[in-house]
Symmetry: C2
Subunit: 290 residues, 2 copies
């Protein structure tokens, strides 16, 4: 088995799946596609986003329509990712490599399988669907790989090579535990907060009209992301999400104590000075890192 | 007294002040400038951001150096705005119009003055200082005017004309009460939340490395804004800010109850369905409005 990837099969032709398709085709890789909605598959062929219809999941799993496929990539919402992996059991422990794109990993539990490697291409958009396909979406972005099933070396290499060479991504390995906690903090919490902020404006008796500064527009953009995907992420990663939220509440309370001058601070300082100092420190934190 | 503006004096040559200067000069308006830091004034003249050094605040207030000025614009942090307005008492009730750019208004209390109109050009950046001057910063942006001192009609017209014609902004009047509450919701709370989120990452025992998705980068950008300005905004508008925060906490708790399946919902629905429905509704709220 070679770690080269000449043909892939993408399951789920939303924004992520169709963007992977476009990027792969631009590198000369043959792309088979499946979507639960057959209209989307036909659209993808017509728009030259995929090369061929992959048939049904049953046909794929029985290897009828998946002959010569090197790599199968699931690009469905997080909860469905596990369901589809289970439906593909006819392909477990074959030379075909299987990977995914889910932003949460802890629920993906399968036993005795050596050809599944988990991937999280860290790229997205508030847009969704095949019309938002973007062949450059992944270039230079990070892809976090997890290997909870101890996949065989060839499968690991094939997945890593694909993301690096075909999609021009940077790859790094993490444990599922670390992955879910880190992305709870850096991604899932910011999205939860954005949904909550926009919800509070929606429910507020104060009519804010068109008085939104630049800051709010970013929150609106984040809360405009695919609701099905975010529902799954929030539900499946709720333990780590609530840990991250608890940390943020501590920081909110600390700032509030300074703002309302209820925090005990040494006499030689003023609340104004300390608040300014804290905002300065937050501002300079990792400014250049991300 | 004409409502035409041929010459202005800008007090405070940070990002906002120097951007107003550049935009005004491009319309043929003569720009005098003052900054507490004389190096900045010299830099502004050298870079052709202002035409002339306006001298000291005392010289300005005594009309020594403010002859022929049509409009004075304060572009200093919110707390200093009131201080400087008081220092300019030699110009109160003259034909020179005075306005400001503060994002909070409730602390600006002056009696028996008829030539001060408050302005809030709703435009900003995470950058600060004269090097961030941008002549196009204000084009098509909104400017909210408040008239708590019942200024004379000519002064009101002069300020409105200036923002509309010289800076190409849209203007609207609001009461100070309404202004501070609306911007607590749409601007001050998003910034507080951004500072708190980044602070919680800073203090977290979890090393997040370079694993920041697009969402977090916006929060980092917001929390990189001018700390002195944001300290003043948080302190001066704390009552409305806490009201806005309380509203957001209700929305966070509502989402958490769905995510953790602790909320009572009718048997015919599932938490998954209701959470998806709520996220859908939040997503579609005012999507096109802002």
């Amino acid at each position: 088995m070679s770690s080269n990837v000449n043909s892939i099969l993408i399951i789920g032709l939303g924004m992520i799946g169709s963007s992977i398709a476009l990027a792969s085709k631009s590198k000369g890789i043959t792309v088979y596609g499946f979507d639960i909605d057959n209209v989307v598959v036909n659209d993808a062929i017509k728009k030259d986003i995929i090369d061929r219809d992959a048939g049904t999941i049953e046909e794929i799993s029985s290897q009828e329509s998946a002959k010569n496929i090197d790599l199968i990539i699931l690009a469905v919402p997080p909860k469905q990712t596990l369901d589809v992996l289970n439906e593909l059991d006819g392909l477990w422990n074959t030379s075909i490599t299987i990977t995914d794109t889910s932003s949460v990993k802890n629920h993906i539990k399968i036993e005795d399988v050596s050809n599944i490697v988990l991937s999280h291409p860290v790229a997205g958009s508030d847009k969704s669907g095949i019309h938002a396909a973007d062949k450059n979406l992944f270039i230079n972005k990070k892809n976090v790989l997890c290997d909870p099933f101890n996949a065989e070396k060839e499968h690991l290499e094939k997945v890593e090579n694909f993301w690096k060479n075909a999609l021009q991504m940077r790859t790094a390995f993490m444990s599922v535990r670390e992955h879910d906690l880190v992305f709870a903090i850096t991604s899932h919490l910011p999205h939860l907060i954005s949904y909550a902020l926009i919800d509070s404006i929606r429910l507020s008796p104060t009519e804010v009209g068109d008085n939104a500064g630049g800051g709010l527009k970013e929150f609106i953009r984040l809360s405009g992301s695919n609701p099905e995907m975010w529902r799954d992420i929030f539900m499946l990663n709720r333990v780590d999400l609530i840990k991250a939220l608890a940390g943020m509440q501590v920081s909110i309370n600390n700032l509030l104590e300074l703002i309302t001058e209820t925090k005990q601070i040494p006499d030689i300082f003023s609340h104004l000075e300390i608040l300014k100092k804290e905002l300065d420190e937050i501002k300079s934190f990792k400014e250049d890192k991300f």
